[in-house]
């Protein structure tokens, strides 16, 4: 068993880290403070192919493997989690499903501009009354001649405020006991699609997360992704790979917290010695370092299984569950190590703490990940 990244993956990590430290770290504080996402960052990252990470070159992407993808998201999130979230959602649950389930026409029309970073994508599943419980989806798409008419409300749309392409999950049958879902690619400028104001988030504040309302929104049949009734399958399979991305995000935030906490413990003197000399603080740090390494192994392994074409539903759920809980713990304990200074905005740890918390919630809460894992153990 060989558990080291390849030569290519090491160079990718270095390349992304250098970019992120030079370009993202300096804007992270301002993005958090003002809740804005600088458009020049999008343009720069588009040129460097961050918007088509796993999309093959002939559709304008970088054609990376899943482990490299995980490393990219980890390194971006280490510098700026809100950008990490943007890249992660755009790639794993918006561009990738269009590549995987789209027709050649849809790939040309929607995927190529997305991979080139000209069009930002979203994934719109959650509704006011359907969060963890996807079976309560209320957005309806009624067949109408050559297309569908969509009505409903989506909430918590990551990238919503700057998106051009939105994947909308809707119910396509109004009769029959079992609801059948379908996915529609809906352009932001399409009549009947309306974006609400951005949420005032606790963390990930640089990302414009907003609601999207669909009022008699006519969508041509060519915009349906996959067959009618394939929606749930597309949602679930996208979320499996999405979780590798969230795990990587959590990992990046955890690593950033660890880096600053290890440093702080060496620099801060109390009782005539650095904090790192106190047994209690050492214990904290040792536990955190160990758990971050565990999260990293779970995350890379789930990506590796994906690269091998092997089943990885359980592994991605475990990686997402573990890495996000580790991230919350590392930031919480890291803040504790910083004492009162950690509770101020003079240090980045309070931002990491707020950012990390989101990873336990989206793309399936920790409770839902435990359900997925329990199911893989044969529990109902």
């Amino acid at each position: 068993m060989y558990l080291e990244p390849s030569m290519k993956q090491m160079v990718i990590r270095r390349t992304v880290r250098k970019f992120a430290e030079e370009r993202l770290s300096p804007v992270a504080v301002e993005m958090d403070a003002t809740g804005t996402f600088p458009s020049e960052i999008i343009r720069e990252m588009a040129k460097l192919q961050y918007f088509g990470l796993e999309i093959p070159a002939h559709y304008g992407g970088a054609g990376l493997d899943a482990v490299s993808y995980a490393i990219v998201i980890e390194e971006i999130s280490r510098s700026c989690a809100a950008v990490g979230l943007c890249i992660c959602v755009h790639n794993s649950v918006s561009a990738n499903p269009i590549y995987e389930f789209g027709t050649e026409g849809q790939r040309k029309t929607f995927l190529v501009p997305m991979a080139e970073g000209q069009a930002i994508g979203t994934f719109c599943l959650t509704e006011p009354n359907a969060g963890s419980d996807v079976s309560s989806l209320g957005t309806i798409a009624i067949r109408d001649g050559n297309g569908y008419v969509l009505n409903g409300n989506k909430v918590f749309v990551t990238n919503g405020g700057m998106s051009s392409v939105n994947l909308i999950f809707a119910v396509t049958n109004t009769t029959g006991k079992q609801k059948r879902y379908s996915v529609f690619i809906v352009e932001s400028e399409r009549k009947g699609l309306e974006k609400g104001p951005n949420e005032e988030l606790m963390g990930m504040r640089g990302n414009p997360v907003c609601p999207i309302a669909l009022n008699d929104c006519h969508v041509p049949v060519e915009n349906r992704l996959g067959g009618e009734g394939q929606g749930l399958k597309i949602a679930l399979s996208s979320l499996v790979d999405g979780r590798i991305g969230i795990a990587s995000q959590a990992l990046g935030i955890a690593q950033a917290s660890l880096d600053v906490s290890l440093e702080y413990a060496k620099e801060r003197y109390q009782f005539g010695k650095p904090l790192s000399e106190f047994g209690a603080i050492q214990n904290y740090l040792v536990n955190l370092v160990t758990r971050v390494e565990g999260a990293r192994l779970l995350t890379y392994r789930s990506a590796y299984l994906k690269d091998q074409g092997l089943a990885h539903t359980k592994e991605a759920a475990m990686a997402k569950l573990y890495a996000s809980e580790v991230a919350v713990d590392v930031t919480r304990v890291g803040l504790q190590i910083h004492g009162g200074y950690g509770y101020t905005k003079a240090y980045p740890i309070e931002r990491y703490y707020r950012d990390a918390k989101a990873c336990e919630i989206y793309e399936g809460t920790s409770e839902i990940q435990r359900l997925v894992i329990a199911r893989s153990l044969g529990y109902g």
């Binding site: 390849s6 030569m7 290519k8 090491m10 160079v11 990718i12 270095r14 390349t15 992304v16 250098k18 970019f19 030079e22 720069e44 040129k47 460097l48 192919q49 961050y50 088509g52 990470l53 070159a57 992407g61 970088a62 054609g63 990376l64 490299s68 990219v72």
Partner: protein, 269 residues
């Protein structure tokens, strides 16, 4: 314009550790990066190719893992990469290194118009290799350039030296070593990295491909031997002073004045 860029893989700088017994740099477990000034050289080559057309070949002498640096250079924009690798090359000093690199360059057809090196490396820092290659190939050389302007068959280059800006016109073929101010290396698109590692070839030349004899290369071809290596004791010593804020500030000001960092005149300015 046919350009050769010589690149060396060096340990990532904060991690450099020395093996005092074997008198070498410890490379195991340390990430190797392209010597930072060699990236500046590469960027300059890419800019020249943009204006003049032509081809960029990257050349490195090193152990097999230097392939990583060459592939990164391909992603950066090089057209071709040559790795000079052979157990016989091990232990080379700067003379033996330059000899192997110069021999490889002399075998390229057509002979390049320009060879670019970094002015020095971050691991050994001798700054010998560029000038020695130029001497062996009998090329005009300018070291530490911070501007390059092609003009017909020649180049107008500038460098900062002893507080003066020197301007030279050199006929090609020529060799330049570059300083940090010349350019800032661009970020590499991820797809270019993917292709550099999955689709591109690295040409490998060993001692026999260069028609060199073992006594001309590696330790045998070296004019110098490292005799003794020890870590220099750090001369930085801290001083802890206590007292009131006022007296501490005065103390620091006196110290800074004594070191001529702060000028007495400007004290109250």
């Amino acid at each position: 314009m046919d350009i050769i860029v010589c690149i060396k893989q060096v340990p990532d700088v904060p991690n450099i550790r020395l093996d005092e017994h074997r008198m070498t740099i410890i490379r195991e477990g340390v990430e190797g990066i392209i010597n930072p000034l060699d990236c500046v050289a590469l960027e300059a080559a890419v800019n020249l190719r943009e204006r003049q057309g032509g081809r960029i070949t990257v050349l490195s002498m090193g152990p097999p893992q230097s392939e990583e640096a060459l592939r990164e250079a391909l992603a950066f924009g090089a057209d071709q990469a040559i790795l000079l690798t052979d157990p016989a090359f091990a232990g080379a000093d700067t003379l033996a290194t330059s000899h192997v690199l110069a021999t490889a360059i002399s075998m390229l057809k057509p002979f390049p118009d320009l060879v670019i090196c970094g002015r020095q490396t971050i691991d050994s820092d001798t700054g010998h290799v560029g000038p020695q290659i130029a001497e062996e190939l009998d090329l005009p050389q300018v070291c530490g350039v911070n501007e390059i302007h092609p003009q017909g068959d020649s180049l107008v280059v500038k460098r900062l030296y002893d507080g003066f800006q020197d301007t030279f016109r050199v006929n090609t073929p020529a060799l330049l070593t570059v300083s940090q101010d010349l350019s800032s290396p661009h970020h590499i698109p991820l797809g270019d990295l993917e292709r550099a590692f999955s689709d591109r070839e690295i040409i490998r030349w060993a001692i026999k491909d260069l028609n060199l004899k073992p006594e001309e290369v590696g330790l045998g071809g070296s004019a110098t031997r490292v005799w003794k290596l020890r870590k220099a004791a750090s001369k930085r010593r801290g001083e802890i002073v206590t007292g009131s804020t006022q007296s501490l500030v005065e103390h620091v000001i006196r110290k800074l004045e004594a070191l001529s960092i702060l000028d007495e005149e400007s004290g109250n300015g």
